[in-house]
Subunit: 454 residues, 2 copies
């Protein structure tokens, strides 16, 4: 019991720069205009993004300086703790060492404020009066509501309807911060009305909510639109997670053999894993990277690499990435934050290049892992994070079967305090397992646009 | 923006001893047997408490060593952060400096694990197979469920019915940790059946739930009963809060003029405030201490100082303390953790001796303060903690009116992530204000036992 379980850093160890994975981890294909097939450049992107963020999005510089105003707010919860899961190891009777980096100590309980705060800051600097976003399970919406409150920005959030119903407390939290929360698809936008016309019982999807948010933002130049995941600048902002984890693993005197993150839009995984990949490429020890995605939304394991839209209605330009098709509608599993048809082009490229593995996990096995984690480590994980826990446990059990040590690091991306209805269903034995059928996947894949003749 | 907002300590600064307020802050009257009127001593107390805890309860030693096994677990969340509320100060336009010590970073989101962990540890050492407790809003039940899971103890929780209904997620969290949660009054115990016979719609009270838990524990010697507040050893365990805060205020280069805590059973307030009082009595700077209690359960401001039971059915011995009468049933306000008819004898004595002030605050004004705090500081407070926030804001506004500086420290005893239904009601304008009538107070006071002729 006297060995360390927590690896602490102090305020001076908060990173001073964001590491840009586009500089070294993977080169990302250009963003294309769906009509002309031409590359979308700086000027076009500034129509929906402050210039500072567009510069980051298109940059291949290795680092971006973190503004003092942002770092000042980071100090409220960063550096986040890194723990060794000794009690979990003991319960598994494994020779593996399991570490986790815990982002749930942030004000809204997930890693999302790491990018919500700088995006709110840059939008405020650019003179915007408000922010519009979409949210799945609500983590992104809460983070933007928090950041908006700090910078005096009005915040409107389109929340995927099934999550709006499953997680009423996340909606209430957004409203407590002063934001407005709207279930999507809604009748407020042409996009929402068009989706509802096709299917009045549409459970919502991240892609559909994104269409609604984008349409509102494009219509009013005083409003900014903030991206919760997928884009390069978002992955860069999240690098604070991995940068700190590198310092903390050094304190622990170990190096991870495998780094695991749950995978939806990809930014939490990118933030934790890519700094380790940079380290490996700079002569550091080798590392395996592992993406853990839900079987209900198997973007990396069953999607195609193709140019596709990031939203359901096709309002965004085209990104080259793993996609299940922009019209794909995943079943309503509780890991709402992972229900994205597409993934960060940087993550997609890392998988394509063989630098990252991917596995798909089922809802019930993930909740089982989450329960064991709660009872041993004392922290209730978000349903999204249970995917990383399940994968970490499986790695630890594999090490046990082989009778060999293994050092495992996973990202505990958020707490599950707002997800107790899901745990309640699990405990009552009524939590459904994933019900994704091949036909739904085929329908989704069929919505991937034909390649553009350039 | 470049001034510090967070005052950090490192693992080595976690206290190594608990400070015992009974050594110096106040001398507490003996505990009496209600039948004989004789002092209840060591042997009798060990019937429901491990010897190590009884020794702490009766001790006037200045300090108790914190066992390594407990300190090891404290390291998961301690030291907790101390913040300067610069954004709140700005919103109030006050010359006052406002600091808060934040206990919501603990695994179950409140200060309660500070004592749940050592109590589970000592009960495990004493050979108990399980723990039984009562809980109001659920913070204590969750903390014991967490601690029980770590030490392999079965946990049963009697939860005040009105909170059981208002806060279903706290129940689910206890169950996720493996505990059983029973709404009280229940039909499981003679105490519960008797209370229900008098009033089938009884909303429950801490006193009634305590009767049920005690009756179950007394009936089975393999089960321990753990106390969430009020007793001396609990106040001592909570001294880790104040001990850390003293170090952190030194880092900030300031000394609080006033230290504020919300006040229910009193242990959170004792834990933060009494170490500052010890410091003052050892030649340190003077400090005002302020207890902020709900107008719906005004133990310190409308109760009497008398010998009374700690539970509704009169199963406990008699403690001399402020009490509204052990049959007092407070209205069902959302600050369930503060709905106690009685208070820690140590706090009671400090108020009696003029070393601590007390004020009663109404529910709606406290939620108003909580909303302002959330939007400025980014942390959603528990309804209980909003009482301390309201009092701190009123102190800051008084300083502004006087045009003078003031250094205010308050305890943010927990987060409100499980209390969003209450915030939702506040936002919808349906949150009722306290409805305590004089008759209910008179009925409660009438249940204080006649003084025993010794």
């Amino acid at each position: 019991m006297s060995d360390r379980v927590k690896y602490e850093l102090s305020e001076k160890d908060i990173p001073t720069t964001w590491w840009n994975p586009a500089a070294d981890v993977a080169s990302v294909a250009p963003i294309l205009d769906p009509k002309s097939g031409r590359e979308v450049g700086f000027d076009e992107l500034t129509r929906s993004m402050p210039e500072a963020l567009v510069r980051q999005e298109l940059s291949t510089d290795r680092e971006f300086e973190i503004p003092d105003e942002v770092r000042e707010i980071y100090r409220q919860w960063r550096p986040t703790p890194l723990f060794r899961a000794r009690r979990l190891e003991k319960a598994l009777d494994t020779p593996a060492h399991i570490y986790y980096k815990y982002e749930g100590v942030a004000p809204t309980g997930s890693f999302k404020p790491n990018t919500a705060v700088p995006q709110a800051y840059y939008n405020k600097l650019a003179g915007k009066r408000g922010l519009i976003v979409e949210t799945g399970a609500g983590q992104w919406g809460c983070a933007v509501a928090f950041a908006g409150a700090l910078f005096g920005l009005d915040v409107q959030v389109f929340m995927v309807r099934v999550s709006y119903q499953q997680k009423p407390y996340r909606r209430a939290l957004m409203e407590t911060f002063g934001a407005e929360c709207i279930p999507s698809p809604s009748t407020r936008t042409a996009a929402g009305r068009s989706i509802l016309a096709e299917n009045p019982d549409h459970p919502g999807s991240l892609g559909a909510a994104k269409s609604e948010a984008l349409q509102m933002a494009y219509a009013d130049p005083t409003l900014g639109y903030a991206r919760g995941s997928a884009l390069n600048h978002v992955c860069a902002h999240q690098s604070v997670i991995g940068q700190e984890a590198i310092q903390q693993m050094e304190l622990a005197g170990e190096h991870p053999d495998v780094v695991i993150g749950c995978s939806g839009g990809g930014s939490n995984l990118a933030g934790l894993a890519f700094p380790f990949l940079r380290q490996a490429r700079s002569g550091g020890p080798a590392v395996r990277l592992l993406a853990a995605e839900p079987a209900a939304c198997p973007t990396l394991t069953r999607g195609r690499i193709a140019y596709d839209y990031a939203d359901t209605m096709g309002l965004t330009p085209l990104f080259r990435m793993h996609t299940l098709g922009h019209k794909f509608v995943p079943p309503p599993v509780h890991a709402g934050g992972l229900r994205a048809h597409n993934i960060a082009p940087l993550i997609s490229r890392a998988v394509e290049d063989g630098q990252m593995e991917a596995i798909a996990l089922r809802q019930v096995e993930c909740f089982e892992a989450g329960m064991l984690f709660t009872r041993t480590e004392g922290i209730l994980p978000a349903p999204e994070s249970t995917h990383a826990i399940r994968a970490a446990i499986d790695e630890a059990l594999a090490a046990k079967a082989e009778g060999r040590g293994r050092t495992i690091l996973f990202g505990l991306s958020g707490h599950g305090n707002f997800d107790l209805a899901a745990y309640d269903a699990y405990l009552a034995g009524t939590l459904a397992d994933d019900s994704l059928d091949d036909e739904a996947v085929a329908r989704g894949l069929a919505s991937i646009p034909e390649p553009i003749a350039v």
